[in-house]
Subunit: 235 residues, 2 copies
DNA sequence: TCGGATAATTGAACGTGTTCAAATTTTTCT
DNA sequence: AGAAAAATTTGAACACGTTCAATTATCCGA
């Protein structure tokens, strides 16, 4: 609600950009919050404490961020930018489908590592079907689309022979697979999440072999059945 | 903490059973809470309101239930009992693997239908890796085990030819599949969740065909790879 | 049946995330 | 530069889930 005003201002006149006073406090609050979450954990960090440390009244935080959970969304967005960048490197180097997928998944796990502690909280929020942070929600469609695009890149640049019908759905399917791995990662408290790494390496191998298998002509009927279902669900 | 006393009492002496005063208020609070959740939703139902409607002080609720979320766990347990019962019927009738799986999944969806509204809240809580309600947590291992046992029953009673190595892991895999369908169901706000029904019917078909496929001898290497991974992850 | 022990219940109080009307600062326009 | 408008900031207050010391009801053995 309040933010709407901010948006309008940013559209009608220029200002509201990085330099302006408001945007300055916004960053200050955000950086403070992220730092404190990192040091003491999410639940243990009070909105009052964040405000105090940022030298600001509690209410100010709510002017810039809709809720405490929305502060966490900042992590999310930051993480996404990092992914896109670090994966681009990998995709420039590798040509085999398996290596591309392995590289991308490896990068994603590496990028996420520092945030493992908050992932639980983020996930708890994101799991709520009502939440805009939910990866399946309409609000996060742009982010989801971008994320799927990353896997489209993985497929596109690979020199594997994939039937067009499968190729069209593959990015979304790989994204779903990637969500599964992340789900495992969130619950993985082995040191350095090495269990997730093992799972990922094994499953990438399996996924690639399944793709090869599905591309064979005797598999056409089953493949068509699966693709029909996906099309059907999309309405 | 407080509950420990209750448990000890229930073990050392008898009493604390259905008749006793304490157990009476416990049910009263629980029934009131479930009814109010049903009428107004979870977030909108206040602990104070529950207590007041039950004719009890707010503190009393916390003597019998550790938290508001633990009141929801009651739904969970209740649902599980219903599943076990209604699925038993289906499993007595059907012999083909596909029909057994279809029947069980259908029953589960039917049983859950009245609770669709709260499923989101339950899921939000259950998604927290810290939560005892999390289906992957140690605390819910008994429930998980029982649930997997249901799918073991599905496999056991079927007259499909399944290699022993796959047969051993299949119940857990089917349980995982079932969790996926439930995840979809939670996010499904189509009328009567008919999209989930469609998804379920299609995917059961696919799952069964995959099982048949995996049982073929040319698939032995891939099958072994998958099963190795599962064994590996179990430590 | 009585009295001690245990279980159950109370309700005020705490700390939390959050809201909001009022005050203040910043920006915009003439 | 100055005044009007808009954005920002304040901090007291609210409602909530929850805790806990004190109180009352219930149970059980002698």
């Amino acid at each position: 609600m309040r933010r709407k005003t901010l948006h309008k201002r940013a559209l009608t006149v220029e200002s509201g950009e990085a330099g302006s006073k408001g945007e300055q406090t916004r960053s200050l609050i955000l950086e403070t919050a992220l730092k404190m979450f990192g040091e003491r954990g999410y639940e243990e960090t009070t909105m009052r404490a964040i405000a105090e440390m940022a030298g600001v009244a509690p209410g100010a935080t709510y002017y810039h961020f809709r809720s405490k959970e929305h502060l966490i969304q900042a992590y999310y967005e930051r993480m996404h930018e990092i992914h896109a960048e670090s994966c681009a490197e990998v995709l420039k180097k590798e040509r085999a489908l398996k290596d591309r997928l392995l590289g991308v998944m490896g990068q994603i796990l590496k990028d996420m590592a520092p945030y493992h502690q908050f992932a639980g909280v983020l996930f708890k929020t994101a799991a709520d079907p009502q939440s805009p942070l939910n990866p399946f929600s309409p609000e996060s469609e742009p982010a989801r689309r971008a994320s799927i695009e990353l896997f489209a890149d993985v497929v596109r640049g690979a020199k594997a022979k994939i039937p067009p019908d499968l190729g069209a759905e593959l990015p979304a399917l790989l994204w779903l697979y990637h969500m599964g791995v992340v789900l495992f990662w969130i619950h993985d408290d082995s040191s350095g999440q090495h269990r997730t790494r093992r799972l990922m390496e094994h499953t990438v191998e399996i996924v690639v072999r399944l793709i090869q298998l599905a591309s064979l002509s005797p598999m056409r009927p089953l493949r068509k059945t699966v693709l029909k279902m996906l099309a059907d669900l999309r309405e």
